[in-house]
Amino acid sequence: MENPTRDLERLYEDLEIKAVKIRKHIIESIYSAGSGHPGGSLSVADVLTALYFHEMRHDPKNPGWEDRDRLVLSKGHAAPALYAVLAEAGYFPVKELKNLRKMGHFLQGHPCMLRVPGVEMSTGSLGQGLSVGVGMALAGKIDGKSYRVFVVMGDGETHEGQVWEAASAAVHFKLDNLIGIIDRNGLQIDGPTEEIMTLEPIRKRWKAVGWKIIEIDGHQIPQILEALYRASRFREKPTMIIAHTLKGKGVSFMQGTLSFHGKAPSKEQYEKAMSELNLAEMFYKLRSKNNESQAVKPK
């Protein structure tokens, strides 16, 4: 209160530390499962962290709260990232993350709303989440509720025709309570998106359909927070946040590569990834501590 700049800095720092923690959970759970999708989970980690630990109104103690903001993870293969934020937020114990993809446990390879508290929609077959978000946003309009609906999509999945059906419907029904986020990491299983099936000019495409567009660096917490803040204030139109990201962000040998789209790390790779992330966590914590002590220093 005395120092609003420091408060904001502190928020960014906390979220950055949280995001590293989320990345550690992602690596641990996929390593433990022996399979999964680290690349697209790591690329979306900052966005999900900002949403669940700052922007969204939700209550882990009451997952069915009627007025909660909803999030549909349309890129269902990033389930490890969603599970990590849900566990950290308190929807279920963090220790469950190690049971990802294991028989008899509830964390399915792709999100299943009937089994996992906090998961708003079962996803996995790409290109369907935005339609579901349209339905949720319509329900909010019918009921005169103020909740918002966030749909997190992969860039590759916007190849699907259904995405564009939903894009038109969201504009047609004036769903300003619907916010889409495209995790624009530029890579899909078979290669770079522009080599497989052109997405560019992605911004113009969405704009042409009638969406408000915000383009950001999807790893910069301040940019993510600002985009979410602005998106919620547009009226009469849905907003698409194009978040430019790096596949595998945060782990040197996964970053920007295709090889970890859908592959678990080996034991050595796991250890290397964890030591990198531990180092990053230590760095962020130290930086935060340092800034804190400077901020309280008497003049």
Binding site: E66, R70, V72, C112, M113, L114, E120, M121, S122, T123, G124, S125, Q128, G129, L130, S131, V132, G133, V134, G135, M136, A137, L138, A139, G140, I142, D143, V149, G161, Q162, E165, A166, S168, A169, H172, F173
Partner: protein, 323 residues
């Protein structure tokens, strides 16, 4: 059970779609959570009437069935009971994956009510004559499949499914169909209805084809063949007990449906019967072919699903059994 059949010799016709839209409006008045969706066929499916009455709870998704199904799922997660309508061919074929992933898997209260199923669609031809919808829907876990036999039953079925949680597929044709029942207050999801007693053979039927089956039963009666008529309005979950009893008590079954003989009613009956009480079964339905343009009754006759074909199948089965 107060099973009263109307006199089929003075047939009154009524469209199942009219009964559907009337039921929707009644439900809409009672329940503010009823939401109706369509995909640019609201005039044909008759959901337009609901739209006029409740414009805030009706959404036309244009020619985009996949998106409509996804949005239906989203609405259902927010406590809405969603009716999503379009032609059967688009409702099931065009958006199968959306139904599978976003509706059936999460077990959401989306009632897919499809019209224009079957070959009696007529003039539009094979592209619009959906003969595989029962097959596609009944294989999905959580999905229940209902084909009402007349308008009276349609109204009651729509009421009943609106009270049940989870997804349903309801199948209707395009044509006006004979009114068969005076009332259907006895209607229970999953419970077959024995329409006529009989000992020699059982005619199992689903949908408005019941009227042809009743004619076939009369034809057989003239030849001293006592045919039981069993109406399976709920193809899934099927009333196993009723079909097993039919097998045990009459020793032969003819299944009758305006659908492919592959994986429709005939297959469902065969699955139920063969595991516990096998008997000879003949499936009357559309063979493994696409239809063509023509008049509804011409097509029913050419593709072998009218009363004379049904009666013939029964006689053939009885002849083969005697050998």
């Amino acid at each position: 059970m107060n099973l009263k059949l109307l006199n089929q010799n003075e047939t009154r016709l009524m469209n199942l779609r009219d009964a559907y839209s009337a039921a929707l409006i009644e439900l809409g008045m009672k329940n503010p959570n009823i939401v109706v969706l369509d995909a640019d066929l609201a005039l044909s499916t008759k959901t337009k009437r609901f739209a006029t009455q409740f414009p805030n709870r009706f959404f036309d998704f244009g020619i985009g069935e996949a998106n409509m199904m996804g949005a239906a799922a989203g609405l259902a997660t927010c406590g809405k009971t969603v009716f999503a309508s379009t032609f059967a061919v688009f409702a099931t074929g065009r958006s199968y994956d959306q139904i599978r992933q976003s509706i059936a898997y999460p077990n959401l209260s989306v009632k897919i009510v499809a019209t224009h199923a079957g070959i009696s669609v007529g003039g539009d031809g094979a592209s619009h004559q959906m003969l595989e919808d029962i097959a596609l829907m009944r294989v999905l876990p959580n999905m229940r499949v209902i084909a009402p036999a007349d308008a009276t039953m349609t109204r009651v079925a729509i009421y009943k499914i609106s009270e049940e949680k989870g997804p349903f597929y309801v199948r209707m044709g395009r044509a006006d169909s004979p009114l068969i029942f005076e009332s259907c207050d006895w209607f229970e999801i999953g419970k077959a209805v024995q329409i006529k007693d009989g000992e020699d053979i059982t005619l199992v039927v689903t949908g408005p084809l019941l009227s042809e089956v009743l004619k076939a039963q009369e034809l057989l009666k003239k030849e001293k063949i006592s045919a039981r008529v069993l109406l399976i309005h709920t193809i899934k979950p099927i009333d196993k007990e009723a079909v097993i009893n039919a097998s045990r008590e009459t020793g032969g079954i003819i299944t009758c449906e305006e659908h492919s003989i592959i994986n429709g009613l005939g297959s469902a009956v065969a699955e139920a019967v063969s595991e516990e009480a096998p008997c000879q079964i003949k499936r009357v339905g559309i063979g493994d072919v696409f239809g063509e343009s023509g008049g509804p009754s011409e097509l029913m006759s050419k593709y072998g699903i009218d009363s004379s074909h049904i009666a013939q199948a029964a006689k053939t089965l009885l002849k083969e059994r005697k050998k």
